[in-house]
């Protein structure tokens, strides 16, 4: 038994590694179309990451909100539900965070402000998530469609607010005023952009792991995910679980809005980070929806992001920014294919084992 477990672990590491490398190599090869030497731009940007602490810390900075949106997807996924609307919940959290920070800044101590903003951003995300869960519970409406559409509605709401109530005092662009330094999440490492949001995200990942695997609620959520009918028979109400799972999922995505606003951007800009939700989904799949795995998968995505940005900065190379979504898309696609490869390898191993046993007897 233990040997099989080890073998599946090895399969998982090897196939995923191959998938990631294949994704990077393929997107790199596409750079040849632009007459760009992929080896040169990759090695230059990786060297920049290795030699420059500021750039290296950016990897964890980029990973911070991704951990939260990936957790958001993974949490409902465990209950066999689909929250495709993490993008909207993330925006909702960002709107709440920026609005409250602008209201409260320089009035109350930083620590208190950050705590309040964190809680309200979390609640804002939970509001949208909870609404989706409620509609699922009450009307049995398809959560996949409702969550998907909710993102577009929140996006329109955000654009509206940026044009009206939240618009900068200069009144020029659809964006808010920057928040005061006293409302920023403090830096984690001096001389870099990395802030305490990273610690918050990691703590949430651990918390969600504990919640899922060490509590009765987590057990129930997973039970509903595996077989909602059977768990209903054993006295777990699946509909109640729908609401709870979506509330928590939305809350997690809302926190990402807080860390991005108070930690990195310090202002709300139209159409920022438009692929946060989709990337979170990809990360959750890469990590097999395991909260601890999500931390590492997010760091990988953060690294792809920073590598892409660094390439864009190489003078004269003209690497387009779309290389990031190409890399992320290919890696995600190949990781999905790696699942298939693993089932193939496992079934062949099983067959060989049976053959060997048959030969022995």
């Amino acid at each position: 038994m233990k040997r099989i477990l080890n073998a599946t672990w090895r399969d998982m590491v090897l196939t995923n590694f191959a998938a990631i490398v294949a994704g990077i190599v393929l997107s790199g090869a596409l750079l040849l179309f632009l007459g760009i030497d992929p080896i040169f731009v990759f090695s230059t940007s990786i060297r920049a990451i290795l030699t420059d602490g500021y750039t290296a810390a950016d990897i964890l900075l980029k990973a911070t909100p991704l951990i939260m949106t990936a957790l958001a997807f993974a949490f409902t996924y465990k209950a066999n539900l689909f929250n495709i609307g993490a993008q909207g919940q993330f925006y909702m959290g960002a709107i709440a965070a920026i609005w409250l920070s602008l209201e409260l800044q320089n009035r109350i101590p930083t620590a208190l402000l950050l705590l309040i903003v964190l809680i309200v951003a979390l609640a804002a995300g939970a509001l949208i998530g909870g609404l989706i869960g409620f509609l699922k519970e009450r009307f049995d409406s398809n959560e996949f469609l409702v969550s998907m559409m909710s993102s577009y509605v929140v996006l329109a709401l955000m654009n509206y607010l940026l044009r009206t109530f939240l618009k900068e005092t200069k009144g020029e662009y659809p964006q808010t005023d920057p928040i005061a330094r006293s409302a920023w999440l403090p830096n984690l490492i001096k001389g870099t952009r990395l802030h305490y949001g990273f610690i918050i995200s990691v703590l949430f990942a651990v918390l969600i792991w504990v919640l899922l695997y060490k509590t009765t609620l987590g057990f129930r959520i997973r039970a509903v995910g595996q077989n909602s009918r059977a768990s209903a028979l054993s006295g777990i109400s699946p509909t109640k679980i729908y609401v709870i799972a979506f509330l928590i999922s939305g809350a997690l995505a809302g926190v990402a809005g807080f860390t991005e606003m108070n930690g990195v951007q310090h202002m709300l800009i139209q159409d920022f980070n438009p692929e946060m939700g989709a990337a979170g989904l990809g990360i959750a799949i890469l990590a097999n929806a395991n909260p601890i795995g999500i931390i590492f998968a997010s760091i990988l995505y953060g690294a792809l992001n920073v590598i892409g940005t660094q390439m864009g900065r190489i003078p004269g190379a003209n690497v387009p920014s779309s290389i990031v979504s190409l890399m992320q898309g290919f890696v995600m696609l190949f990781v999905i294919m790696a699942y298939y490869a693993r089932t193939k390898i496992a079934s062949r191993r099983e067959k060989n084992k049976r053959k060997r046993e048959a030969a022995l007897s």
Binding site: L30, M149, G329
Partner: protein
């Protein structure tokens, strides 16, 4: 004004029609084409590129179909033959589509000083028919894609409900084991319906670039693929339901454009109208009851033994 609005509704429902009707066909065979947003986008891009490079919309539409089929083929291989999760695979392809279009737009055209333009498909008034009062303006003063839609509605309807091919498709989605016993190659048939959805979705995407705006941007689809996906669902997996649904959403979009053009009557913000089709989807999804979902929708078929 009402005629104008309805006429516009029919125009705006054309791409949704292509997307949702082919989605119905694919879903009746048992596969949700969740890559539809990416298929639309690649179709829009292919349509633009073909038209721009060869100066003729026919080539644009051809390239749009090829692009749509290519995305659908990857999607079909991964979900049907590799049996991976449909929602997850679709999301990956949707991200990839954005990166791919942006990247190859750059490869082909560099960074142009002014946005590239193509001549949008021209409106072809049908002789005599377009002269009929009201109806002529409503139905017979459109571009070629809308006319194609008129022709294929009955064809697809007939195919799905009155031919052995349609029966095979429906039984693959309802009871693939039985279909298999009856000698139908379930996975191959499912793959073909997905390719069909890719082709039609490609045309749908091209409608936005070639048929309507005469340009391409990577955010031009903006959830329209998902709306077509939702229409299939709201139309209860029926061709007639999907056709009614596309008209409702076409009307919603036409209304949104109209309200924006008059500045929301000075009272409602434009964003409300932009969000209107999405809000409508949520409301209809919540209100809709008694679905007859294809029994094996989304479940890969694994042959026993």
């Amino acid at each position: 004004m009402i005629i104008n609005l309805l006429s516009r509704a029919i125009t705006m429902s054309t791409p949704l029609f292509f997307g949702s009707v082919s989605e119905v066909v694919a879903e009746r065979s048992g596969v949700m084409v969740t890559a539809i947003e990416g298929i639309f986008l690649l179709g829009a891009w292919g349509g633009f590129v073909g038209t721009y490079l060869w100066g003729n919309a026919i080539f644009g539409l051809l390239l749009a179909m090829i692009c749509g089929i290519a995305v659908a083929a990857i999607y079909g291989v991964v979900t049907i033959f590799m049996k991976q999760h449909q929602v997850v695979t679709g999301t990956a392809l949707n991200i990839l589509a954005i990166g791919f279009c942006a990247f190859f737009q750059r490869v082909l055209f560099g960074i142009p000083q002014i946005p590239l333009q193509i001549q949008p498909l021209s409106v072809i008034p049908i002789p005599i028919l377009s002269e009929i009062p009201v109806l002529g303006e409503l139905f017979f003063n459109k571009n070629i894609l809308t006319y194609v839609a008129y022709v294929i509605i009955p064809i697809i309807h007939y195919m799905l409900y009155h031919t052995s091919l349609g029966l095979a498709i429906r039984s693959s989605g309802e009871n693939p084991q039985a279909a298999d016993v009856a000698g139908i190659n379930v996975n191959r048939l499912r793959f073909l319906t997905v390719l069909f959805a890719g082709m039609m979705g490609g045309i749908a995407g091209a409608f936005y670039s070639v048929g309507f705006l005469g340009m391409f941007t990577t955010n031009m689809i903006g959830g329209r693929g998902w709306i077509a996906f939702a229409i299939c669902f709201l139309g209860n997996w029926q061709i007639t339901g999907a056709v009614i649904g596309t008209f409702v959403f076409g009307l919603a979009e036409a209304l949104a454009i109209y309200m924006q053009s008059i500045g929301g009557g000075g009272f409602f913000p434009n964003e409300l109208f932009i969000a209107f089709p999405y809000i409508l989807t949520i409301v209809l999804t919540v209100m809709r009851r008694n679905f007859s979902v294809p029994a094996n929708l989304g479940i890969p078929y694994i042959k026993e033994g």
